[in-house]
Point group: C2
Chain length 217, copies 2
DNA sequence: TGTTCATTTCTTGTATACAATTTCAAAATC
DNA sequence: GATTTTGAAATTGTATACAAGAAATGAACA
């Protein structure tokens, strides 16, 4: 890992944290990291600041930075907020979405469906993300779009776990199709509700997985 | 302006930008600012980074940082998103709010009402903010609360303008009372709609002011 | 043995020095 | 006269040096 610039350091660290390389409360040593990345402390500190703002680490003055892995409560809150943001995107998209975008959604669903049949989780995951990003975009509100995308990104590792819930994928596909339907019918309230439920279910499934994990592990 | 630390520099600059001291596209000179604040470039750059993350300035590599004052379109988008966030807070608060918090809301409204009668815009403004912050808090979702508060803060200067719209204050007070009512009745959908409309109106009023300003100015 | 205080070490925060890139302007070329 | 080229000045990005504050170690004392 030699001679990366400040920006790429930030995203590399972000990946690393999201991947789970660090535990909650772990301290990130500026000096250590700077030699690991082969840069001085200055650009490294800038990278850490970026991560602070995205909530992945906590900075305590004169003490250092500590990784903040969200606990069950915060995770549920994150999913809950994601559900609300998606609902808002859906509400706007219902009246603003273009025909071309509707076709894009349908195509993403088709690819997803095939991925389910062929048992290709990566392909499914990728096009599932694509599906949701299209809706964010078609909200016609750049600010909302960006915020939704940011949270979407933050929840990515946890969404992934959900793929392992038996029977969830076909169910999820049905929901997607229902979402496209109400969007193409131009019904804001239904679109909002469909998307809210769709994401909320993800949160619930994840929560149950968490609980089971704790009980059995 | 002597010897402030990095954190306070950030908030001071933030205030300054929100106050309108800089125009859209203005470049912020690191060296100049560092002597103004009486610090070296290192902490000043950290301050600028923070502002970048909150969207107030844009950082172009090797070119510098530039102030990003939102234009009419982005402002409408910001208000639109604020309306959605408040609606979400209201939806959750309707089922989660405590009796004590309801009393707090009523009290904030009482003070607001008095402020309207005595023509004290500052007092009105302060307690209006208090009203909304209580609702954020009572959403029972810390993540949502923080995000709402952040956007609320960002829109503060524009909300202020709205005070000058004739007849808006009494109208706004009525809406507040209606909001408390549906919250205390525990009706999520109504609470969401009431809050969404309440904020959306603010956006509309502001937009009309903007248009008038451009036509007459 | 346990507690408190002082000293040392380590880490973060800030200043300064240097390197790399861009911008601006003037000179050269067509 | 317009356009390209080249070089100087200015500005950002990075490294290093220094200052200030926290943690840790150990000695003195109860």
């Amino acid at each position: 890992m030699n001679q990366r610039r400040a920006d790429s350091i930030a995203s590399e660290l972000e990946e690393s944290i999201l991947r789970g390389d660090y535990k909650d409360g772990d301290r990130l040593d500026e000096t250590k990291l700077s030699v690991e990345f082969g840069v001085s402390r200055t650009p490294l500190r800038e990278a850490l600041q970026k991560l602070t703002l995205s909530g992945l680490i906590e900075h305590i003055p004169r003490r250092g930075v500590f990784v903040r892995q969200p606990g069950p409560v915060e995770l549920m809150e994150l999913f809950e907020m994601m559900a609300e943001l998606e609902a808002s995107c859906g509400r706007f998209a219902a009246t603003r979405i273009s025909e071309a975008a509707l076709d894009e959604l349908r195509e993403a669903n088709t690819v997803c469906q095939k991925a389910v049949e062929n048992n290709e989780p990566d392909e499914y995951f990728k096009n599932n993300e694509r599906f949701h990003r299209i809706i964010y975009r078609e909200s016609g509100n750049r600010v909302l779009e960006q915020e939704a995308a940011r949270l979407h990104q933050r929840l990515r590792p946890y969404r992934r776990v959900q793929l392992q819930v038996r029977g969830r994928l076909p169910e999820s596909m049905n929901e997607h199709e229902q979402i496209v339907k109400v969007l193409s019918d131009g019904r804001p309230e239904q679109a909002a509700n469909a998307l809210r439920d769709h994401v909320a279910v993800q949160g619930d499934k994840f929560y149950h997985l968490l609980v089971n994990l704790k009980e059995t592990g």
